[in-house]
């Protein structure tokens, strides 16, 4: 059963990736690695990506004008400055996130109605 679940669960994650990314970036502009860590932290380690897939997802959001990437200096080892690409949400991104979240809530409600009818 676990095998079957792990086969299908990436699809669930895939479907919610863009929403998660926009939400995290809306709270605070971050760079790729930090975004991955933040999603892991907030989900208590439940949501784990193949981390490389986050970058194409970020680039797709950027291409669609939902976020903006900007190279910025951050303090690194021995006070050496390191560049990181920070992502900022755009107005279009905020609107898209609101829509995605409302769709997600509708989806979760609908799934709950099917799986747990007694709650409805």
């Amino acid at each position: 059963m676990r095998g079957i679940f792990s086969k299908y669960s990436p699809e669930l994650l895939k479907g919610s990736t863009y929403c998660l990314l926009l939400y995290i970036i809306k709270r605070e502009p971050l760079y790729g690695y930090k975004i991955i860590k933040e999603i892991e932290r907030r989900s208590n380690g439940y949501l784990k990506f193949k981390e490389g897939t986050i970058y194409p997802a970020l680039h797709r959001l950027e291409r669609d004008g939902l976020i903006n990437g900007k190279w910025e200096n951050v303090p690194g080892e021995q006070d050496k400055k390191q560049e990181r690409r920070y992502y900022y949400i755009t107005k279009k991104g905020v609107r898209a996130l609101a829509k995605m979240m409302s769709q997600w809530r509708g989806f979760v409600n609908a799934v709950n109605l099917v799986l747990e009818p007694s709650r409805g």
Binding site: Y31, K50, E51, G52, Y55, P56, A57, H59, R85
Partner: protein, 320 residues
């Protein structure tokens, strides 16, 4: 950064097939990820080698990530698509209006093609540039085709003791033109194929159509010898075929998936040439039509074979 991570990023880059500036930005960003990830693993007490292995493991396979990155970056805007289709449309316009027979207009358009190509090359080869490069190269191919008989007869006269300085200069000039054509072709194809072989196909997709047109004109006496009015019969089929190629190029730019891009050219190219043959000489029989399509397909796939051969040839050379 460790050599293994550099090699991993190099491998990923080799699958990207995007414009150099975008590739550079992607690799720069991914290398910052590996810096952070290495620090994280080392902080957890892993050795350098273990940290490298774990960082690469958690990142995912280079080919898969490159494929996703390609899809995120490969689709051009509508402006890019229009710019890529524009050379086909302009030349289609020349045929539709019969203006290809006007030397001044022809030269003016060639200058435009070359200027746009040089500009595009200078600003880092944007995705729409390849059709412009293709049309900038076309006159040298047509020129070579037209000059071969002149070169042959001049050489033949010189061989038969009919020597004059003027003929020697003509032969030498034509020979240098041939050398230049071959050089500019090889140079351009190698530069473009290093980015992606399918861009060479996009760049040269119209050449078999122009070749077909020239061969058709041969039956009416040839481009240089026939009465120009006689040559009008192929203008409308040429215009329509080039319009189709323009639409194929625009689709190529807009599509995200690489297999779809390849498919668009491999399907529309042979159909366009078959349509041209059908429109100009009528139905030649199914077998001949299939033969024409197959030849076109081989031409369109030739850059892929060349790419494989070049990659193997230069595998051990850092310069590639």
């Amino acid at each position: 950064m460790s050599i293994r991570i550099k090699d991993f990023l190099e491998e990923l880059k080799s699958y990207l097939k995007l414009d150099p500036l975008t590739e550079k930005q992607i690799i720069k960003e991914l290398s910052t990820y590996f810096q952070d990830k290495m620090e994280e693993f080392k902080g957890k007490g892993l050795s350098e080698n273990e940290a490298i292995r774990a960082a690469i493991e958690s990142f995912g396979r280079a080919r898969n990530i490159a494929k996703l990155a390609y899809q995120a970056h490969s689709s051009g805007s509508f402006t890019d698509a229009l710019l890529a289709a524009l050379p086909h449309f302009l030349v289609a316009g020349l045929f539709a209006s019969h203006l290809w027979q006007n030397f001044g207009v022809l030269m003016g358009m060639l200058i435009v093609f070359v200027m746009v190509t040089l500009f595009g090359w200078w600003i880092g080869r944007p995705r729409w540039i390849y059709t412009w490069i293709g049309y900038s190269l076309s006159p040298s191919v047509i020129g070579t085709y037209l000059m071969i008989p002149i070169f042959n007869s001049t050489i033949s006269e010189l061989a038969h003791q009919d020597v004059s300085m003027q003929k020697i200069w003509i032969a030498l000039g034509i020979f240098l033109f041939f050398v230049f054509t071959v050089w500019i072709f090889i140079y351009t194809i190698i530069r473009v194929i290093r980015r992606d072989w399918i861009l060479v196909t996009l760049m040269l997709v119209h050449l078999p159509i122009i070749g077909g047109w020239l061969l058709t004109l041969e039956q009416k006496g040839g481009l240089l010898n026939a009465d120009l009015a006689v040559l009008h019969f192929a203008n409308v089929p040429m215009a329509i075929t080039l319009l189709v190629l323009g639409l194929a190029s625009a689709s190529f730019i807009r599509l995200r998936s690489r297999p779809m891009k390849v498919g668009a050219l491999m399907i529309i190219g042979p159909i366009a040439l078959s349509l041209f043959v059908y429109a100009v000489i009528g139905y030649p029989g199914m077998l001949r039509l299939l033969g024409v399509s197959l030849l076109m397909l081989i031409f369109l796939l030739a850059p892929a074979l060349l790419d494989m051969w070049l990659t193997r040839f230069f595998r051990n050379r850092k310069a590639w």
